[in-house]
């Protein structure tokens, strides 16, 4: 296995807030970027977040797995789309979706040698803007699991060979039998705000991996995270990560929701701790998304789903609720005010929950039934912002002001 020379960081767990724009609450207008099975939509709001206006659809009929605005330039927006049987691509807009232009060279695996079976990108699943010190850099995660990088704002994409051609990639990623029904994905691309070369990724399936050098070398980071669907439930890799996030103000703090619960890791400890065990037993800690408070590294939201028997993947007992912790998972608070009290069978996908940077923080989620719900008081009260959209795949907050 490729060795990783970088040791878990012993640097200060929290970054100096004054130097980071994300440490300051946003006060301007906001948009929610909505990816759906049938296209993209943009839900605009003003600074008070009291009025919402839906624009779109964009790329009607195409599956949009992710649509993201670069938070650094607040101008470049990328959309990962798949037009039916016509394969995956990236569209780019610099005018908030008024016009779009397709990538000149979308993410694609290299052509295999004669007689070998090469990989082909089925769909682009995840987009992450690069480090602020590298303007124009974006990363993309695909199905099957591949990592791609653009250095020109999403126009041209190259594979990150250190991962895609790694001799252990096939072992890490597993075969089709180890894949979820909609295809195995590479997602949750996180970039250390202290070091643009320090990357984390999550895979479903495959687990969490870390690179210290911009993607040239990788190592699994799964100690403590279980995989109860494998003969050895504590493997070095092979876990099913649903969503993994690094806190931008405390980059040695990681959270993940996976197939087997909610976890937290502090890098100095180097081990995932299943903080979901503190959830009520009747709710459990199965789900797909998690969303972080932008300024409080101990605060996050999850949206539990029924992971019993055949995995219905809906709100337990038909009573949807988010759960919030303000102490990094030591205790959890149910947040259901405003949501259906019964017969509410919500499914929220892994990219379909987000927070804004306002104060108080807005928390939003989209359902596979095409509804977007929002809370402007950190989950204290929920309101349905939009209904009747197609199946929602992703939701991202874009601060415009």
């Amino acid at each position: 296995m490729t060795s990783i020379s970088r040791r878990p960081s012993r640097r200060a767990a929290f970054l100096p807030r004054a130097s980071l724009p994300q440490a300051v609450p946003a006060t301007g207008s906001l948009a929610l970027l909505v990816g759906t099975r049938k296209g993209a939509f943009i839900l605009h709001s003003n600074a008070k977040r009291r009025e919402w206006r839906l624009a779109g659809p964009h790329f009607l009929g195409s599956t949009v797995h992710h649509i993201v605005l670069d938070p650094h330039d607040r101008r470049t927006m990328l959309c990962a789309a798949r037009a039916g049987h016509f394969g995956p691509t990236v569209f780019r807009s610099v005018d908030m979706g008024r016009t779009w232009k397709e990538a000149a060279k979308p993410p694609a695996f290299p052509k295999a040698k004669e007689g070998e079976k090469g990989l082909a990108v089925d769909h682009l699943f995840w987009l992450t803007p690069g480090h602020p010190s590298e303007p124009g850099v974006w990363y993309a995660g695909t199905s099957p699991q591949g990592l791609f990088r653009s250095a020109d704002g999403g126009v041209n994409w190259e594979g990150v060979a250190g991962f895609n051609a790694h001799p252990l990639r096939a072992a890490w990623c597993g075969d089709e039998q180890a894949s979820p029904p909609d295809g195995a994905t590479l997602h949750s691309i996180n970039i250390d705000p202290r070091d643009p070369k320090h990357l984390y990724i999550g895979m479903s399936c495959g687990g969490t991996f870390e690179s210290p050098d911009g993607g040239s070398n990788w190592a699994p980071l799964n100690k403590g995270s279980i995989a109860d669907f494998l003969p050895n439930p504590n493997p070095e890799y092979g876990q099913d990560v649903h969503c993994m996030r690094m806190h931008p103000l405390a980059p040695d703090r990681l959270y993940q929701q996976n197939h087997c619960g909610f976890y937290r890791m502090d890098r100095a400890e180097g081990e995932w701790v299943r903080v979901g065990m503190k959830m009520p037993k009747r709710i459990g800690d199965i789900g797909f998304p998690l969303a972080l408070h932008p300024r409080e590294p101990d605060t996050l939201w999850v949206f539990p789903m029924d992971g019993s028997t055949v995995w219905p993947r809906v709100s337990p007992d038909g009573k949807p609720a988010a759960y919030m912790t303000r102490n990094a998972g030591t205790t959890w608070q149910r947040q259901a005010s405003g949501l259906p009290e019964r017969q509410g069978w919500f499914t929220v996908k892994r990219q379909a929950m987000c927070t804004d940077r306002h104060a108080p923080v807005g928390v939003y989620f989209g359902t596979t039934g095409g509804e977007i719900w929002g809370s402007l008081n950190e989950g204290g009260k929920w309101t349905c912002l939009v209904r009747h959209l197609p199946e929602i795949y992703s939701l991202e907050a874009a601060e415009l002001g």
Binding site: A83, G84, H85, F86, G87, T89, A108, K111, V121
Partner: protein
């Protein structure tokens, strides 16, 4: 020769349903199309040069499953996208 473009790909051909292209094989036809309409080839063929699943390419009335199929100047190419799924 004339190439029939399915509705799903006419954004590339400026709404034209039929376009001219030249080449002695399907691969050369697609390469010529891509020169004139950048990006269209990757919608039809993946990075391993496999015709994408559920797409069909006909040379006259015969379906071809390979890009190596020879084309005569009098042939007509038709590309169809399946209308499957919900």
């Amino acid at each position: 020769m004339q190439v029939g473009i399915p509705p799903q790909l006419r954004d590339y051909t400026h709404a034209e349903a039929h376009v001219e292209a030249s080449g002695a094989t399907v691969a050369e036809i697609l390469a010529d199309l891509d020169r004139r309409f950048p990006g269209i080839r990757f919608r039809i063929v993946d990075e391993q040069d496999r015709i994408r699943p559920h797409l069909r390419i006909f040379v006259n009335e015969e379906q071809t499953r390979t890009l190596d199929a020879r084309i005569a100047t009098t042939d007509r190419i038709l590309i169809f996208g399946a209308l499957s799924g919900g």
